[in-house]
């Protein structure tokens, strides 16, 4: 059993250590020791983003998170073609939306604010919704400070769209306690979500 001792370490260090251990021991289970619920939650997100499962035991300040690789049937896989091995998502028309700023496009800020509000309103009226919408850098001002965008995001979230905001960015802009919709995420989860999606739309 591979064990990572991340007791006393602040996020994202436990996540980084866990990811390194998982990469160094592919196909093996890893136990990560952490001392707080935020780290536990982030490790569970890491596991999910890697297609692995996680089970936590204990409570603060002694929590053990067991991250287990998915069951695999190597014999079946060996008989498949490269095409068949592609994840189902790669052949679907799923897409994700990435916002690295709080307006659409370059140029006039007021116009850009109008455009971003109209974009999210339009999304609420479409049938083909993104699987996730991610916010980074100044983009995190949208799910926190823009009431119109927040209302649209709530509609989208109620229809199953994941709303992910970068925790470091919320921290930087001192907006962590003002997130009105969706969840606080991290670079690993956001990067993995983009990588796993066949299409990414950046505005």
């Amino acid at each position: 059993m591979n064990t990572v001792n991340a007791l006393g370490l602040a996020c994202p260090t436990p996540v980084i250590m866990a990811k390194k251990e998982i990469e160094e021991h592919p196909g093996e289970a890893v136990t990560v020791l952490v001392d707080n619920e935020v780290a536990r939650h982030n490790l569970e997100k890491l596991a999910a983003s890697l297609g692995m499962s996680a089970a936590a035991s204990g409570q603060e300040p002694n929590i053990a998170v067991l991250i287990v690789p998915p069951d695999s049937d190597e014999a079946v896989r060996a008989g498949q073609t490269e095409c068949e091995l592609m994840p189902a998502s790669a052949m679907s028309d799923d897409y994700v939306v990435f916002f690295g700023k709080d307006i659409v496009g370059e140029g006039d800020r007021e116009l850009g604010t109008n455009l971003v509000r109209m974009f999210f309103y339009s999304l609420t009226e479409t049938d083909k919704l993104p699987t996730a919408i991610m916010f980074m850098n100044a983009g995190v001002k949208l799910p926190t400070l823009d009431d119109q965008v927040v209302e649209h995001l709530k509609v989208l979230a109620s229809r199953g769209v994941r709303i992910l905001s970068c925790g470091a960015c919320l921290d930087f802009y001192k907006l962590k306690d003002q997130l009105k919709v969706g969840e606080v995420s991290n670079m690993y989860e956001i990067a993995q979500t983009i990588i796993n999606s066949p299409k990414e739309v950046t505005l």
């Binding site: 007021e110 109008n114 509000r117 109209m118 009226e125």
Partner: protein, 92 residues
């Protein structure tokens, strides 16, 4: 019959943004794309909830928004099947 909501459309994006400046703090609105079926307007419209009808009519009749030259539409339904009818307003 009360419509589902109201829509204000404008000649230009500048007029639409000027209207927002006037409405801020007076009337709640959503910035929405102008429906394709409404020709002769710019791409930015403002959606007003039906509950705000009295306040909207008061603002329109008082001429407060005249500087932006809005057209006011009643909206029945939503999404691509919504129906729009232009309102003709009598000044106070």
């Amino acid at each position: 019959m009360t419509p589902d909501c109201y829509l204000l459309s404008f000649r230009s994006a500048h007029d639409a943004m000027k209207a927002q400046t006037i409405l801020d703090g007076k009337l709640a609105y959503l910035v929405v794309p102008t429906p394709r079926s409404l020709s002769g307007s710019c791409g930015i419209s403002l959606k007003i909830a039906a509950q705000c009808e009295d306040a909207l009519m008061k603002l329109l009749r008082s001429g407060t928004l005249d500087v932006c030259g809005p057209r006011c539409w009643t909206v029945e339904g939503s999404g691509p099947f919504a129906e729009y009818e232009e309102m003709k307003l009598d000044a106070d």
